[in-house]
Symmetry: C2
Subunit: 557 residues, 2 copies
Amino acid sequence: MSTKKQLLSIFALGGIHEIGKNMYVVQYADNIIIIDCGAKFPDETLLGIDLIIPDISYLLDNKEKIKALIVTHGHEDHIGGIPYLLKKINVPVYATRFTLGLIELKLKEHKLLRETDLIEIHADVTLQFDPIAINFFKTNHSIPDCLGIVLSTPEGNVVHTGDFKFDLTPVNNQFADIHKMAEIGSKGVLVLISESTNAERPGLTPSEQLVGQHIEEAFLHAERKIIISTFASNVNRIQQIVNAAILTNRKLALLGRSMVNVVEVAIARGYLNVPEDMLVDAREVKYLPPEEVVVLCTGSQGEPLAALARLANGNHREVKVLPDDTVILAASPIPGNEKSVSRIVDHLFQLGAKVIYGSSSYTGMHVSGHGYQEDLKLMLTLMKPKFFIPIHGEFRMLHQHRLLAEAVGVEKGHTFILKNGDVVDIENSEARQTRKIPSGDTYVDGIGIGEVEGIVLRDRKQLSEDGMLVIVLTLNKADSTFISEPDTISRGFVYAKDFEELLTKVNMLTKEVVNELQTDSRQQIHVFRREIKKAVGQYLFTQTKRKPMILPIIIEI
Amino acid sequence: MSTKKQLLSIFALGGIHEIGKNMYVVQYADNIIIIDCGAKFPDETLLGIDLIIPDISYLLDNKEKIKALIVTHGHEDHIGGIPYLLKKINVPVYATRFTLGLIELKLKEHKLLRETDLIEIHADVTLQFDPIAINFFKTNHSIPDCLGIVLSTPEGNVVHTGDFKFDLTPVNNQFADIHKMAEIGSKGVLVLISESTNAERPGLTPSEQLVGQHIEEAFLHAERKIIISTFASNVNRIQQIVNAAILTNRKLALLGRSMVNVVEVAIARGYLNVPEDMLVDAREVKYLPPEEVVVLCTGSQGEPLAALARLANGNHREVKVLPDDTVILAASPIPGNEKSVSRIVDHLFQLGAKVIYGSSSYTGMHVSGHGYQEDLKLMLTLMKPKFFIPIHGEFRMLHQHRLLAEAVGVEKGHTFILKNGDVVDIENSEARQTRKIPSGDTYVDGIGIGEVEGIVLRDRKQLSEDGMLVIVLTLNKADSTFISEPDTISRGFVYAKDFEELLTKVNMLTKEVVNELQTDSRQQIHVFRREIKKAVGQYLFTQTKRKPMILPIIIEI
C-alpha cells in the first residue's frame, strides 16, 4: 500500500455484503485505525466450522502502522474476532466501560486478559494519533454504551456511525447526542460510513419503551411463573423486565451462562439497576410460589443448547415449565432461526404454557436496534457528508441505503458500494475506488484458525450425505497376488436389506479389478486404487443412487 | 385392530404436529379409506435423506381392508408418498382431473403408471364402498381442483376439508361450493377433520385476485425483460401472469422442469388458458426484444438448483438477468427458506435488476392458500360438527384451532388434538381416544426406502463435523508383532500447519498401544481396536478440540 503522506484510505475487512464480522480500517498515510473486530456464525454449508473471522493479512503486513483498535459496541459481530486478532497482533483496544466489560469476558476465556492493553473511553474524550484526532458521539442501539466515531484527518473528517437507531425516549436516560451530531455535521464531514441493516424498512424504529409497556402488561396478567427470554446483551430490555418484576413483586432468576455473565457485568458497571434482594438462584425457583418468580433466560433464537430450548424440552435441571406458566419470547427470530424458534414454541404449548411469541408487530415484544429508513435519513441529514459509504449489510441493503442518501442530498456518484477489501482512496478531496487489499473469511475450527481448506469441507459434505466405504486388501509386494482378500467397512452409508450382499459384491469387484490389472505387467498402487474406486463407485451408484466416499487401502508386504 | 362391525375409527399416519406427509385414515368396521399420501422434505439434521414418507405398517397389516386412496389435491405434501405406497400396496387412487395429472407425472417417473388404477372423480360423484358412501365438495386453495370429502358411515358423517381457504372472487371462476357445505352441515356432521396451517393468523385470507392486480401493475411498469417466479402448482397465479403478459404484449418462456411439466398438464386438462402463439422456447429469449418477454420460472423458495438460483448466479445457459430487468418473487418464503431467498435477491440486485421481493403484505405478490382464523371459523360454522379433529399443523396451530372451534360452538372436550398414530374411536355417538397404531417417519435415501437407521445418521453427523481418520496396521497372526507399521489416512479432518506431525504422533501412539497390549498375553483384535481408538481420540481432542471418527483397521496375517 502506498505510504504517500497525503492519502486517506478507507476499507472493510468484514461487514459488507454480509451481516457479521464487522471490521473497518481508516488509514491516513502511515497511520492505521481499526474499527471493530467481529465474528460471524457459519451457515449450514460450513460443516464443523465454529466461527468465521476476517482475513487480517493486510494488518499482519502493516503491523507497525496500527495505532488502535476502537470498538463501537459490545455485540458479537463487533467484538467476536478480538481474541484472534490479539493472538497475532498486539494492539491497544479502546472502548466504553460496558463494551470493555464484555471484551474482558472474552479475553479471560482465551487467557489473553493480562497481556492486553485495554483503554476505557467515553463520548467526551479525544484520542490523538498524530495527525489523526478521534472524537466520539453517543448513539442508541440494542446494547448500552454505543459510540459513533469522528476521525479528523488532514484530508477531512471521517464519521463511522457504529450500529444505531434514534430512540428519543431511551431506557435509563441513555440519550443519543443529536446536538453533537449536528455540530459534527456543521463542521463538515468528508466521508460518512453508516450501517444499513434496516435500509429496506420504511418508517422510524419504535422506541425500546414500547417493549417495556408490553412486558409490564404481560406481567400484570400472568397468574403463575413467568419465563422470559431475550438477548443477554440487551441490558435496557432486561432493565424493563426487572422493573416489571418489581412492579409485580416477583423475584428474578437467571438461566444461561451468557445471561449470568452479562447481567453481572451490567450491574457491576452501573448499567443495570437491580434491587439487592431480588436475584435468586435458579435452584430456588421450585421452592418459591410461582406467582412470585420470573425466570430470565437465553435462547430466544432457538439455539438448541441454550436455556429456553432445554426448558421447552423439559430437560432443564433446575426449572420446569408447568401448565399455565407464562413464557414470553421478547425477541424476533433473526432470519434463518424461524424454524428452530417455532419448534420451541410448539414444545412450550405442549407443556401447557401460555406462550407470547410471534412477529414483533403483533406482540410488541421486540423492537429493532437498527435504524429504519427515517433513522438512516436523519443521520445522513445531520452529517451532510460529501462522500458516503454504506456498510453493515447485504448488497440489497447497501443499494437501498444509497437511494436514501441520494434522496436527502448526497450527490450521485458520491456513494461507494464496496465489497470487503475494496479501498476508497481520497486525495485532494477526490475519492476513487480502484484498489483491493486481501480480504475474506477465516474459519475457526476447534483450536485451529484459518486452516480449514475447501477440500476438507468438500470431503465433509460428501461424508455427511453419502457416508463412506473403506476397502482393505493386502497384496504380495513381489507379484501383487492377494495375501488377504478384500474386506469392506462402511460408515454413514445406507443400510439396505441386502447390505451384506452389496458388500460381498464390492469385495468381488475389487478382486476382479486387481486380478485384471495384474495381467498387465506390474502396476503401481495408485492405479489399483483409482480403478477400484471407479469400478466400485459405478456399481454402488447404479445399485443405490448414492456416491459414498471410497477409500481403497492397499497394503503391500 | 378391532373389527367390531359398529366401530368408526379415525387417525393420521402423517400430517399432525408437522407440516408435511399428510395421510389420514377413516375406518369403519373392515373398510379402510385412505385420504392423501404425502411426503415431507427433511430438515438439515437428516444428513443425506431425500424425502420422508409416512410409516405405513398398519396399512401393510390390513391390506385386504383398504378400499381406496382418495386424494384431496395435488400438492407434494398430499401426493408425494403415493409412488412409495403403491410399490407396497396396490390400491385404486381417486382424484380430480388436475390432481390426477400431477399424480401421473409422478408415477411415470417411478415407472408405475401402467399398473395403477387411477379413477377420475369430480365434486358431484358419489363413491360407494358399502357401508360407506363418499361425496365431495369444491374448495379454494393455491392449486386448482381441490376437494373436501364427506364419508357417510352408519355411525354418522365424517367431513375432511382438505387444504382450503374461502376465496369469494377466485381466478377462473373456480368457486368453492359454500351452499353444498351448508347443506352437509344441515344434514349433520359427526366429525369434522379440518386443516390448521394458518390458525394463528387473525382475519380472512385475501383473495388470489389481489396478487393478480399487483402483477398487472408491475408488468405495466417494467421497461425491459420480466422474470417472475412462483410455485409451479399455483396454476391460478400463473393464469394471472399469463393475463398480465397478454395485456402488455409479452411472450412467455418457461424455466424449470416442474414449471414446464405442470403448465403442460394444466393446459392439456383445461385449467390454464394460454394463447397458442404465446409460449416461446427459453432459447429464444435472448433474440427477443426484452420488453416483449416474460420468463416464468421455478425457485421462488431459494432452492439452490432451481431456475431462479441459476439466473441469480449468472450460470443459466439460456437466459441472463441484465441491468434494469424486472425480477418478481411472487411467493413468500416458507419458514426456513428466508436465508436462501435473500441470498438470491442479493445476487439479483448485484446484476442490476429491479427486484420486487419481501413480505407479501408489503409487495402484495403472494397470498396464502390456507384459511386464516375467519376462514376456519366459517368452515366450522357451516359444518357444525359434534366432534372436531384439527389436523395439518404444528401443535400450537392445532391448539389455536381448538380455541376457534370452541368460540363458534364446538363443545369443550369434543376436540381431539392427536399425534400421528393416535386413534379416535366412535361408537354409539361416543368418541374416545385410547389406542395408538404404529406411525412415524420413513426415510427415503437414494433408492433404499426406510432403511436408514439412527446409527447411520449419527455417523454422518460425526463425519460431517469432524471428519475421520483411518489407521491401518498389519500384525503377525502368531505373535501380534508388526508386519507393517501403522499408517494414517484422514478425510474431512482439520488441516493444521503441523498436520504431518500430528499424524506421525498418531502412528507412534498406535504403535505404543499395540506394543503395550502385547505384553499382556494374546489379545483379541477388538481390544486393539478399542484401545487405539481411545488413545488416539484423547490425543486428538487435546490437540485440536475435535472428535473425528477413528477407524483402526488391523490386518492379521
